[in-house]
Amino acid sequence: MGELKVIDGGGEVAVTTRLSDLLQWARKWSLFQYPFVTACCGMEFMATAAPRYDIARFGAEAPRFSPRQSDVLWVVGTISQRQGPAVKRIWEQMTDPKWVIAFGTCASCGGFYDNYTTIPGVDKVIPVDVYIPGCPPRPEAVLDALMLLQEKIQANDRRPIVVPPKLVPERAPGRTGKGNS
């Protein structure tokens, strides 16, 4: 949350902050998702949504199958030209504030489907907040995207961002055990 100010009233303590910060804080921890899942990335999305990776930690686990009740549109997979009007309509039906995550290479830029069938990135149709590269991305990358989105919400930053690549986990600095030479 933004700037916190503690007021000590002699036995009773109050904490103040700005209303907008409080609102953004509430928003970033209750991201109802609308999964628009069209292709193989969906398997990785399911893995992320399953208990092992536990996106409930981020308050983002509740899927809403009505766009009117959801905050984040997950575009997961290849979007064909024929699906363009549908995805745009769904985005239009979502109430503000709303965010979009392009999950995987196809949703981000069309991937290798460079032909008449496929929209080269869903950002050609709707604005995207976070891009997740990968074919498909690992669940860790998806969680990174979710945390990036939370940071952007708190900072009220609507510039698009790409999830940066990470070190191979078993070779990350400071980690010991199998895989470290």
Partner: protein, 244 residues
């Protein structure tokens, strides 16, 4: 068994079977376009042939062929006698073959796909609409003269400003599965996968990327030295040979 089908067709239709033979593991006959529907109906109904399994119907575009632009093929099988055969015909651009959708119901959608992708209309088809693409689409994309980069968006594209897309993962980063060890492969090594996969598969001990890079460098140097030695040796032998 499939040869028996060809023989049966030859006895029944005689000279109207234009060619027959074997290609890509299947027997194949070619008929004229006007016999297309009749031959198919006969193969389905004949007590001996019983071609009851419609497998596929598709077309091939030969834009440079002057006599007829398209090949139309149908692959079918008999569940009774396990024969499998392909029938082929030539179709000029604009010609309309008879529909087979009343012979095999499965041909209905296949013919719609051929219309969608190649622009061949079928005479008597109950529902000759596009099946995969949208009605607004102009042209037929599997024709070889369809421009390879021509998209026809239903929703106009937004103007997207430049965003900093990141370069692809380098050797020191990224995801540990299914990555080919290109450096090793280019250097003539036999390690097909990235170091971390190699460890999982027990191919070799763990190396850090910088260690791996050093080893690859060393291997390249050894090989270059060996090649230089071999070149020198061959020079010496040629000198000796000229001396004799």
């Amino acid at each position: 068994m499939s040869q028996a089908v060809v023989d049966r067709l030859n006895t029944r239709f005689g000279g109207r079977i234009l060619r027959w033979g074997e290609a890509f593991g299947d027997h194949e006959v070619r008929v004229a376009l006007k016999d297309w529907g009749e031959v198919a109906q006969f193969m389905k109904d004949d007590a001996e042939l019983q071609m009851d399994h419609f497998i596929d119907l598709t077309a091939i575009d030969y834009p440079e062929r002057e006599s007829a632009r398209f090949d139309l093929t149908i692959t079918m099988r008999s569940s009774g006698n396990s024969a499998r055969i392909r029938v082929r015909t030539h179709v000029k651009d604009g010609e309309e073959p008879d529909t087979l959708s009343h012979v095999w119901a499965g041909a209905n959608w296949a013919e719609r796909e051929v219309w969608d992708m190649f622009g061949i209309k079928f005479k008597g088809h109950p529902d000759m609409r596009r099946i995969l693409l949208y009605e607004e689409f102009v042209g037929h994309p599997l024709r070889k003269d369809y421009p390879i980069d021509k998209a026809q968006p239903l929703v106009p594209y937004r103007e997207v400003g430049e965003i900093d897309k990141l370069p692809p993962f380098g050797i020191e980063e990224g995801q540990p599965f299914a990555r080919i060890d290109w450096e090793s492969r280019l250097a003539g090594g036999d390690n097909q996968v990235s170091p971390s996969i190699g460890v999982q598969q027990g191919q070799r001990r763990t190396l850090s990327d910088s260690e791996a890079a050093e080893q690859i460098q060393a291997r390249i140097e050894v090989r270059m030295a060996r090649e230089a030695e071999a070149a020198q040796a061959s020079e010496e032998t040629t000198e000796e040979g000229s001396g004799d």
